[in-house]
């Protein structure tokens, strides 16, 4: 699975301050760390970046690629900032990825950019209206985005469909719809469509100690569903490999030796699959 390192986000204070001060140090340190932890792409989330977005994105792409031989995921709603980033992106390290288009007509020009620069594009399966209710609705929106991509000349193999992971603490039943959507997306086309998620949003709003646990279990479930890529914490995802066989055993109904671990896995799977109601203290029950 392709990990898109999530840590260079304007939401993080340290990153935001480095972006504002154009201080390469922290950016390069975080980019390097994520590369070493196994990221295949580095996400550069500069937010809406309405003022100076073009400069900022170019600075981010250059700063990252000076130290890391990886492509960059250009993460902003600012169309011009994306194009500015694409212009100077070093494609020697791989194709850049744009985050993102959707079924909102305002986001269609992104597809045109993807075609023009032959890069990959994330298609978020939301429309202009509210959030999708279930997997089927997401698949319907996905099909529309695919039609739109072909119209704009973006090959379908350049499109990553994103079912939109929501917070388990507030919209618990969406977790299993997202897993189902990842399966459905692969059936829409032959060869199967690529899929991506913003993984960590699953545990947004949960107690800090719970976050990696939820992230890791969701990751394994999505991996089993055939997910292609995840915007995630590369360190956590490297650690998953240790837990993965245990999680798979519990999923298969097997007993594992470590009873405490088994309870943790079982409770977390139950919460993600909607078999028990989520509460911040669900592991303590």
């Amino acid at each position: 699975m392709l990990i898109i390192g999530e840590k260079l986000s304007i939401i993080a204070k340290r990153v935001r301050e480095a972006m504002m001060a154009k201080d390469k140090g922290p950016i390069q340190e975080i980019a390097t760390r994520q590369w070493k932890e196994g990221s295949g792409i580095i996400d550069a989330n500069i937010g809406p970046a309405e003022d100076g977005g073009e400069d900022l994105m170019q600075w981010m792409v250059t700063t990252i690629q000076e130290v890391v031989p990886l492509p960059v995921c250009l993460d902003t709603t600012n169309f011009r900032a994306i194009e500015a980033g694409l212009k100077i992106h070093n494609n020697q390290w791989g194709k850049p990825l744009i985050n993102s288009t959707s079924n909102d007509p305002e986001r269609f020009p992104i597809l045109e950019l993807g075609a023009k620069y032959n890069c990959d594009v994330i298609g978020l399966t939301v429309g202009k209206g509210g959030l999708p209710a279930d997997a089927e609705e997401r698949a319907g929106i996905a099909a529309e985005i695919m039609g739109r991509a072909m119209e704009y000349g973006l090959p379908l193999e350049n499109l990553y469909l994103d079912p939109l992971v929501l917070q388990i603490a507030t919209t618990q039943d969406q977790a299993r719809h997202v897993i189902e959507a990842v399966k459905l997306f692969q059936h829409i086309n032959e060869p199967a469509m690529k899929t991506v998620v913003g993984l960590s949003n699953i545990s947004n709003g949960c107690p800090k100690a719970l976050r990696p646990i939820l992230n890791k279990h969701m990751f394994v479930l999505l991996q089993e569903a055939g997910l292609t890529a995840a915007i995630a914490d590369a360190k956590e995802m490297a650690e998953v490999q240790e837990d993965r066989p245990l999680i798979l055993d519990v999923m298969a109904g097997k007993e594992i030796e470590d009873k405490q671990k088994m309870a943790e896995i079982k409770k977390t799977l139950d919460v993600i699959m909607g078999r028990t109601l989520y509460a911040h203290s669900y592991l303590e029950m």
Binding site: A169, T170, Q172, R275, T276, L277, Y278, A279, H280, S281, E284, M285
Partner: protein
């Protein structure tokens, strides 16, 4: 071939909760089926309606419900006796709204006196409610819980901000406890877990997912209650098997439909009837959603809901 109605079987059961002492004690909850699905399992107790009174005269209540209690509501003891003796209340909910810092700001000592007087005057179970001021409620409810020791009351409402103190007071004095969260099923479950982690018996808790009136978010309360009940019954979730409270009167008798006069809105019809219908409709919906305990104000709305219950059980 004869028609056989399909039946659901459920893995969970709502805890039965008994309040009050002696002959007048009442029990609600205890069913192992969705509300009124007596054809699928056991519904040993009918829902209970408590009549709401308060420690200070109901100056802020709309005329059409206030006038019902006009001769008695100047004094909580007279008011309580009227509810018990004349209206045949099965339980009384005494709201200590006068302790709110923005109201009369009555002291915990004054609240204690009111509670003692009311308890001395009636035999039916009493639900003792604070003013929903999280901070003031801690001092008021701790004091009144002690004053009501061993009368097996319900003390409320414990919220995320103050549950520790209030739950400890209820536990020390053998009362039941209302745990209230604000229209969020996950936080409701969380609060029940936190309270039980203090050593409070989870079978002595009543869950209040927060009420809302018809036309003012009732569907949110309905949906949260329904999902709590489904978690309790179909997922056997022991943290969600507490009986549910619908604190109806307080939410209904402040909306425009229950207070607007006929002079202002003649097209809305008779004002008193409208208010009664509004309270009965809201309460009826919440019974269907899963409420086992209701707190209501207008005697005619209460009578209408009792009739509804008669028809459904």
């Amino acid at each position: 071939m004869a028609f056989t109605a399909p039946k659901e079987t459920y893995s969970g059961r709502v805890y039965p909760v008994t309040i009050g002492t002696g002959e007048k004690a009442v029990t609600f909850g205890g069913e192992n089926v969705l509300p009124f699905h007596s054809f699928e399992g056991e519904t040993p107790n009918r829902p209970v309606i408590a009549i709401e009174i308060q420690d200070v005269p109901p100056a802020d209540w709309p005329e059409n419900v206030k006038k019902t209690y006009e001769p008695v509501s100047g004094d909580p003891v007279t008011w309580a006796k009227f509810c018990q003796d004349e209206l045949k209340a099965k339980a009384i909910a005494l709201r200590l709204v006068g302790t709110h810092p923005d109201r009369e700001n009555r002291s915990p000592e004054e609240a204690v006196k009111t509670v003692k007087d009311v308890l001395a005057a009636v035999q039916v179970p009493v639900i003792i409610l604070g003013s929903n001021h999280a901070e003031k409620d801690t001092s008021v409810l701790v004091a009144v819980a002690e004053a009501a020791k061993d009368r097996n009351c319900i003390i409320g409402k414990a919220q995320e901000a103050n549950y520790k103190t209030i739950a400890a007071a209820a536990m020390a004095n053998n009362h039941k406890l209302i745990a209230m969260s604000e229209l969020d099923i996950n936080l409701s479950k969380q609060l029940n877990i936190l309270i039980s982690q203090m050593g409070f018996d989870k079978e002595k808790v009543i869950t209040d997912p927060m009420c809302s009136a018809l036309g003012y978010g009732l569907e949110y309360t309905y949906s949260v209650m329904e999902r709590i009940r489904l978690a309790a019954l179909t997922q056997n979730d022991v943290t969600m098997q507490q009986p549910l409270l619908g604190d109806v009167g307080m939410y209904v008798w402040k909306v425009k439909e229950t207070s607007a006069s006929e002079a202002d809105l003649p097209q809305w019809g008779a004002a008193e009837e409208r208010g009664i219908a509004w309270e009965a409709e809201t309460a009826g919906a919440l019974l269907i959603a899963g409420a086992e305990l209701l707190i209501m104000r207008h005697p005619k709305a209460i009578a209408a809901v009792e009739t509804l219950i008669d028809e459904l059980v």
